[in-house]
């Protein structure tokens, strides 16, 4: 190779910055790839996942915008205005033409602003700027604006309305509450996170949210924002609020791609499993591409694949999709959703007709897990704000909702990410520590003879019993005879209890006769 590949990346969000890092890690001297990252925001590569932390005040802007590793930081504050595919150049707002060998679009997504009256400023140029008191939560500038709104609301004891009870809306609401602001989430469906949760899970989550101080108005639509009053709802009521946060979904940013004639679909720029667009010299990844947008993890995995290909580290790398895992980042609420947790009859699995998903053969009585239908386990525990649902096909978990069982969720996600078979103890898989341990520690009669009492000196209960019948008639004498308790000393209590139990049950001990005839 005589010359480094000249790669221009448009977009310095989480995925663009990640691509830069992944490339540099594979090619630290930029011998194979010379990469230029162009970002419109004045600060680069900020970590959007942590915006709620910025809101709650636990993180600073510096924490969200780490210095990229290595030399030559990406260009920030540079807006790309057009792509000339024939000349293979991009033009920038400041009038430059930058050539590329390969172009990568990582332009992300932007917030969908619903067509409600009052959301935009009425200006001469038409609508564009959000009205006073309204903000989205996508960029660092949005986060700053929301923080100002929140602080003003808190100062006057007013409330922030969050429109949209999806993941971002709930995480933002949780962060606002942590900042001491009163919050109401307005959501059109009968329960929050209805894309991920079934109705009972949504009900339990709603309860948990209320406990943390998040009010909810469910099953209602917003109709109008009135800055001085609040949010008008379609049931005729008005939710008094000093600010409105729009968490109403995102749309892939495909303007540049469409302008230069790349193929796009409803979900974003069309790419194949090599993350290549309809132009072989142009790639797209992250939220702007139509490969699984919305979450950070897939974007990062795509960045690794593309870095493999661009640097030649693995020219055959493919992006074959990421396991679908949604993990609510809200302190005090542990919720993980994976795969597809919905089953045809979301009723009682034990009597569910088989073949609801695939197959279509009739149910074979007594042959439940093998008949092609899903195996479903479900536990609903609103009082302790727990809900667990597991959907399996054969030995594979295909969907789950786990709320309030954090260790089980963590273990299940690992299993799911690897595509590993589920353990046969489904209940333990689903509930983890919430299941009581199988055995309480025993020291008396019910303890079997082979049970290890003193690990440090390999002394079993049986050995202690033998020593007792050989004449050791106290914990101290048992220790001398067997060395139990003489290591770390952790079993002292257990040996004392066993000595007491032996004294109580040994018919000889009451007569104070050494058991010289004890069986050996």
């Amino acid at each position: 190779m005589n010359r480094a590949l000249n790669v221009v990346v448009v977009g310095n969000g989480m995925v663009g910055a990640r691509l830069y890092e992944e490339t540099l890690r594979r090619d630290p001297t930029s011998r194979r790839v010379r990469m230029t990252v162009l970002g419109a925001e004045p600060v680069g590569g900020y970590n959007r996942v942590l915006l709620p932390g910025l809101l709650s005040g636990s993180l600073t802007e510096a924490d969200l915008t780490p210095e990229p590793p290595g030399e030559g930081s990406p260009a920030t504050g540079t807006t790309v205005t057009g792509i000339d595919r024939d000349a293979r150049t991009v033009s920038t707002a400041d009038g430059r033409q930058l050539p590329y060998d390969r172009l990568v679009l990582a332009t992300g997504a932007s917030t969908v602003i619903p067509p409600l009256p009052g959301l935009r400023e009425d200006t001469d140029e038409g609508s564009g700027v959000l009205a006073r008191g309204v903000t989205a939560l996508r960029t660092l500038a949005d986060a700053r604006r929301l923080r100002r709104l929140a602080d003003r609301a808190r100062a006057v004891g007013a409330r922030i309305a969050v429109l949209g009870g999806g993941v971002l809306g709930l995480e933002a609401a949780r962060a606002l509450v942590a900042r001491g602001v009163a919050v109401t989430v307005v959501h059109p469906a009968p329960h929050v996170m209805d894309r991920q949760l079934d109705a009972p899970a949504g009900r339990v989550l709603g309860r948990a949210l209320r406990r943390t101080g998040i009010e909810q108005r469910l099953g209602v639509m917003a109709v109008r924002w009135e800055p001085a009053r609040g949010l008008h709802l379609d049931d005729g009521s008005v939710l008094p609020a000093a600010g409105l946060l729009l968490c109403t979904g995102a749309r892939a940013e495909t303007g540049l791609a469409q302008d230069c004639g790349l193929e796009t679909g409803p979900a974003g720029i069309a790419v194949d499993d090599t993350l290549t667009t309809s132009d072989p010299d142009i790639h797209a990844l992250g939220d702007c591409a139509d490969a699984e947008p919305g979450l950070v993890q897939p974007g990062w995995e795509q960045a690794a694949v593309l870095a493999d290909r661009l640097t030649g580290e693995d020219p055959y790398a493919r992006y074959l999709g990421s396991p679908r895992v949604t993990r609510l980042k809200a302190a005090g609420i542990e919720l993980a959703c994976l795969g597809d947790p919905f089953v045809a009859d979301d009723g009682f699995a034990g009597h569910a007709p088989a073949g609801g998903g695939s197959g279509g053969q009739g149910p074979a009585a007594g042959d439940f897990p093998d008949d092609g239908g899903p195996e479903v386990l479900r536990l609903e525990d609103p009082t302790r704000e727990r809900y667990a649902k597991l959907v399996l096909h054969g030995d594979r978990v295909t969907g789950a909702i786990l709320l309030g069982v954090p260790d089980a969720a963590a273990g299940l996600v690992q299993l799911y990410d690897k595509g590993a078979p589920a353990p046969s103890d489904r209940l333990a898989l689903m509930l983890g520590r919430a299941l009581p341990p199988e055995t309480a520690s025993e020291t008396g009669e019910s303890l079997p003879d082979h049970a290890m009492v003193c690990r440090c000196n390999s002394v079993t209960k049986g050995a202690l019993r033998s020593a007792w019948y050989d004449g050791a008639r106290s914990a101290r004498e048992l220790a001398d005879a067997t060395r139990a308790t003489t290591g770390c000393g952790g079993c002292r209590g257990a040996v004392e209890k066993i000595a007491a139990w032996l004294a109580e049950t040994d018919p000889l001990s009451s007569r104070d006769t050494p058991a010289t005839t004890a069986p050996r």
């Binding site: 970590n47 996942v49 942590l50 932390g53 636990s58 993180l59 510096a62 924490d63 969200l64 780490p66 210095e67 993890q297 895992v325 993990r327 980042k329 302190a331 542990e334 954090p406 260790d407 969720a409 963590a410 273990g411 996600v413 690992q414 299993l415 990410d417 690897k418 590993a420 078979p421 353990p423 046969s424 103890d425 520690s441 690990r455 440090c456 000196n457 390999s458 060395r483 003489t486 290591g487 770390c488 000393g489 952790g490």
Partner: protein
């Protein structure tokens, strides 16, 4: 100490010899007393535990039974020589054996250069032996090719400690400080099996055990109300960053003490803060499998403790990213202001008996005595002056342990090897390759007291003394220098390692006084050589050690001669790092050992292990220890009581994983990695992660867990990746018969 108590102790020990256990770095104090002789045969020593700050009168089963090997019929009492490769070992006189070894070393050096002869030492050797072995290599052989098995133990923690603090001493505080700790994080350490009496210093309710397995230590924590974090193998580094993230965002780092500590005593916090910012709890959870809620609990427990400790063990260290992993945990400790704060700290639990001293006195490939670097001109000049040689005659840094073993008998590598106190034929990674290399040598010389698996491969075996037959010094896990005392004479025909080195050096043309056979002058020279170095023993006068004073290095010689009057007798051993301790019981209280006195935060990032599970090898295998065995098991497998309790290789498997492989509890399983296969008895353990199997590494041959392990090395410490390899599990059909390649 009240007079009466002291007198009582003296009376109790009057008939015995106060020494320390031969095995691990806790160096439990014990008294060896001759038992009334039986009808015939020699008196046997009996072991009684002794009150001491570390073990407090406790011993594990290994310590209690340690004297049983002294009169074992398997003791070697005469040199053995193999006349040609393939011939059996035959008995020989000392003169014949030493003449043969020295003659062959001399010829090789003349024909193929000094580096054609290599030396492999041990963290089990006394300070005197470790020092003499390093000197022997550099001066008598002139070879750069010396390293030791401590490379496989403490090297990652040592490197990380040096980077962060400018100095590496396993525990920079006395063990007794742990008694008052309100939170102790044990990362990849299982002291309930590896150094049981240490457990007496922990309150289980305040333990946070980090281990992929529910070890005996993790179970003790859970039973006592503490925490067990169970990360996927190879993810400890990310876990540390995740805990740091939580501590950061939950405001735990904003206390006045911590803010001032970072500002005044450290550099580099901003870079590390940004590393941690990227490991939010849910991301950490997905990689490690540790629930975000548990991260928050653990971070809060650690951060709210007024006195807290973070301790790492081999589980964190034996990875190709071992140094960075330890650095991440040190970063967490520094962010919380623990190191160098009274009552708190970071430490590494050193493993081998003299794993601490063994890494200070020059048996490491890149090291000279006093923990000096061999490529530092000032260090070379100082040591050359002590040794009476020209600085330029000292060789440069040589190969690290695995690289050395891997090169043996190759055209570029050494043709001869002297092994002292080690059994690499069981303990090396990718052990079948190591055995093949040992076999390819022109000459393998092994000094040992039993026919270890490495001795079985040797051309010359030199029978040496055991711990109860020799004197010297050991440095325990807290950097305290201890006296090892001889309790009885060695069997006839047996020599000490120092006598062996003396005999070889003289035959190689060195003068006798350069390599004394008596440990006392060697220790004197070691003290002078270490003076001014990092690990300075100059003030560790023998009278102080004889008197049982608590002496911690660095201990400068501040006298000319005014050492505190010895009070006589080992009863003073019972004082720990109290007001009367000498030297440096607690390091870093005023400054760290870097020139500017500040500790270094080190920015680190998670990276994958060198080998990950795939379709062909879908499981993680990790290795570790059993309570009854020490290291390669060469000693403990020969103690009947220990062997009865822990008789052979086994593999811990989750019951479902076993079932899928067609295995039931007790069946013989075959475990296969890219480097070899092992047969072991299946032990179903429901608390194990279904994706992970565990094997103890104490067994040889077809059950040698190290046949599986990956010699991928850490770029800094050269530590192999013992703790993680990808394997598959299958039935050992054909009745468990091993292929010849397996039955080494």
């Amino acid at each position: 100490m009240p007079e009466a108590t002291g007198a009582a102790v003296r009376a109790a020990t009057a008939t015995g010899t106060a020494t320390h256990c031969p095995y691990c770095a806790l160096q439990c104090a014990m008294t060896l007393t001759p038992e009334a002789a039986a009808e015939s045969g020699p008196a046997r020593l009996s072991v009684t535990p002794r009150e001491f700050p570390t073990n407090r009168g406790g011993l594990c089963q290994k310590g209690w039974t340690s004297a049983q090997l002294l009169d074992s019929p398997e003791r070697l009492t005469t040199p053995l020589v193999r006349d040609t490769k393939g011939a059996p070992l035959r008995e020989a006189s000392w003169d014949e054996a030493l003449d043969l070894v020295a003659g062959r070393f001399r010829v090789l050096r003349e024909e193929r250069g000094a580096d054609s002869v290599a030396v492999f030492g041990s963290g089990g050797l006394t300070n005197e032996k470790a020092y003499a072995l390093g000197k022997f290599a550099r001066v008598a052989l002139g070879t750069s090719q010396i390293d030791y098995n401590g490379r496989f133990c403490m090297s990652s923690a040592a490197a990380a400690g040096n980077k962060a603090f400018g100095l590496d001493r396993g525990l920079p505080f006395p063990v007794t400080d742990l008694d008052d700790s309100e939170a102790v994080v044990l990362v990849g350490a299982n002291p309930a099996e590896t150094m049981p009496p240490l457990m007496g210093h922990f309150d289980p309710a305040r333990l946070i055990v980090v281990d992929p397995r529910r070890t005996a230590t993790a179970q003790a924590a859970l039973d006592g109300g503490g925490l067990h974090l169970q990360p996927a193998p190879g993810t400890d580094l990310a876990l540390a960053l995740g805990l740091l993230h939580v501590a950061l965002v939950e405001g735990h780092l904003d206390t006045l003490h911590r803010v001032a500590y970072r500002a005044e005593r450290t550099v580099g916090w901003e870079d590390v803060r940004q590393c941690a910012a990227r490991w939010w709890p849910e991301r950490t959870e997905r990689l490690t499998g540790v629930a975000a809620a548990d991260l928050r609990r653990a971070a809060a427990a650690l951060a709210r403790a007024r006195r807290a400790h973070i301790l790492t063990g081999r589980g964190a260290e034996q990875h190709s990213k071992g140094v960075d992993t330890v650095s991440a945990w040190i970063d967490l400790a520094l962010a919380l202001g623990l190191p160098g704060t009274p009552g708190s700290g970071y430490g590494c639990l050193t493993g081998q008996g003299n794993g601490q001293g063994g890494r200070e006195h020059g048996q490491k490939a890149d090291q000279l005595p006093g923990y000096r670097h061999i490529e530092d001109p000032a260090a070379r000049e100082h040591i050359a002056g002590i040794w009476g040689v020209a600085p330029e005659s000292l060789p440069a840094a040589g190969r690290s342990a695995w690289e050395l073993l891997d090169a043996l008998g190759t055209p570029e590598g050494p043709a001869a090897l002297l092994v002292m106190g080690s059994n690499p034929a069981v303990s090396a990674p990718r052990v079948r390759r190591a055995v093949e290399r040992l076999r390819a040598l022109d000459l393998l010389v092994v000094a040992d007291f039993l026919r270890s698996e490495t001795a079985e491969l040797a051309d010359v075996v030199l029978p040496v003394t055991m711990w109860a037959e020799e004197s010297g010094t050991m440095t325990n896990l807290e950097g305290r220098v201890l006296r090892r005392r001889a309790a009885q004479a060695p069997p006839p025909g047996v020599r000490t390692d120092l006598e062996v080195l003396h005999g070889l050096a003289v035959r190689l043309g060195r003068s006798a006084h350069e390599f004394p056979a008596d440990p006392a002058p060697v220790f004197d020279e070691l003290r002078r050589a270490s003076a001014g170095g990092t690990a300075d023993y100059a003030g560790a006068a023998p009278e102080l050690l004889d008197a049982g004073e608590a002496v911690y290095w660095p201990v400068r010689d501040t006298t000319g001669g005014s050492v505190r009057e010895a009070t006589g007798g080992p009863e003073r051993d019972a004082t720990g790092g109290g007001a009367e301790a000498l030297g440096s019981p607690r390091l870093f209280l005023d400054r760290f050992a870097h020139p500017d006195g500040r500790a270094r935060f080190l920015p680190v990032e998670h990276r994958e292990a060198a080998e990950l599970p795939d379709a062909e090898h879908p499981l993680y295998a990790t290795t570790g220890r059993q309570l009854q065995h020490y290291q390669s098991g060469a000693q403990t497998r020969r103690v009947p009581e220990l062997l009865a309790a822990a008789p052979g290789p086994y593999v811990e498997v989750h019951p479902d994983t076993a079932r899928r492989a067609g295995l039931a509890d007790g069946d013989t399983a075959r475990i296969v990695s890219r480097r070899g296969a092992v047969l072991a008895r299946t032990r179903c353990v429901p608390s194990l992660r279904p994706d992970t199997v565990f094997l103890p590494f104490h067994f040889p041959g077809g059950g040698a867990a190290n046949a599986l392990t990956n010699p991928a090395l850490d770029p800094v410490s050269r530590m192999p990746e013992f703790k993680l390899s990808a394997v598959r599990l299958e039935r050992a059909d054909g009745g468990g018969v091993m292929s010849p390649e397996e039955a080494v």
